[in-house]
């Protein structure tokens, strides 16, 4: 590639950059921002952590998986495959395993909070004192089949508003 043609291509590039198309107009941006507001107002923002239902299933998988590994290790030496204890198929056992959990302890605590001050809580503009806070829900569970204890924690964010205006 000779230097002259390379420079010419660079000139072409520079010329193209000077042809920069117009960006988003103010009107277009306002319309799109309205769409964003509508989408956001309809969105249900989920916690970063799975629901309690999902956590119980996760706990079941872990404990049942642990049982299968333990059984294989204890009974596997010198025995044929047919005599090994097989862990039940996880997909068919999740519901049964979920019911086999006993809740030993439940507690909830607040980790941090922020005073939001007076906030408009409805379209009429009524003001109410608000607070936002983050907290943790914890459950200590016992799987009755395996004897394993599982601790589940779920972080959450919430906002609280006074029942009447102050």
């Amino acid at each position: 590639m000779d230097k002259h043609s390379s420079n010419s291509l660079q000139e072409i590039e520079a010329g193209l950059q000077r042809l920069m198309p117009k960006g988003l107009s103010d009107l277009s941006r306002d319309e799109l921002e309205t769409v964003i507001d509508e989408l956001a107002s309809k969105s249900e923002l989920k916690s970063a952590f799975p629901s309690r239902q999902n956590w119980l299933q996760v706990a079941a998988v872990i404990t049942l998986g642990g049982v299968a590994v333990w059984s294989t290790m204890v009974l596997g030496n010198g025995r044929s495959n047919s005599s090994l204890v097989e862990a039940p198929a996880l997909s068919s056992s999740l519901n049964a395993a979920e019911q086999a959990f006993e809740i030993l302890e439940q507690k909830t605590w607040i980790e941090s909070g922020t005073d939001l001050g007076m906030q408009a809580i409805d379209q009429g503009g009524e003001l109410s004192r608000g607070w936002s806070y983050t907290g943790v829900e914890e459950e200590r569970l016992l799987n009755e089949r395996s004897g394993y204890e599982v601790i589940l924690q779920r972080e959450f964010e919430a906002e609280l508003y006074a029942a009447t205006s102050l």
Binding site: S5, S8, L9, I12, E13, G15, L16, Q17, R18, L19, M20, P21, K22, G23, L24, S28, R29, E31, L32, E33, V35, I36, D37, L39, A40, S41, S43, L45, K46, A48, L116, Q119, S132, E157, E159
Partner: protein, 177 residues
Amino acid sequence: MSRSQQKLADRWKDWLAAEGGRLLTYARQRTGSLEEAEDILQDSLIRLWGYQEERGYRPPDVPLAFSVVRFVAMDAGRKKGRRKKRDEKVIQLHDYDEHWLDPTLEEDEDALLLRKAVEGLSEKLREVITLKVWSGLTFAEIGTVLKISHNTAASRYRYALELLQRELGHLKEARNG
């Protein structure tokens, strides 16, 4: 709207301020019409919102956004039954009041010739020029959007520049008699 929803909306508005212009440019290159391009951008925004639900509704990555605009534009084109022949595309670029490339350079003859040369490129080459020069994507990002390797994207871009260089030369000769 709750406070968290408002924060989410603000993040997407910041994203729109940063990326909206170049997404619109790309949509205009795909359709030739400002009005259609704005519709495509709005449709794309709604689709992207849906896609990002699994990711906590965070604003999308740039290559994903361009890919969605491309898909929506192609879908819109198919629905309208528009045939994507090169000569029809060139005619459509002139059918509207506002040219998609900067009309403020009407008095710059060389710029006008270059714009004419761009219009004469095939759709594939015009697309890679749009994504590289006016949308600011890297060759790797262009490859992701167009589902080609980054080497192919770079080769296509270089080839487009060479064609423009040649065509500009011809146009200038014709102008100068």
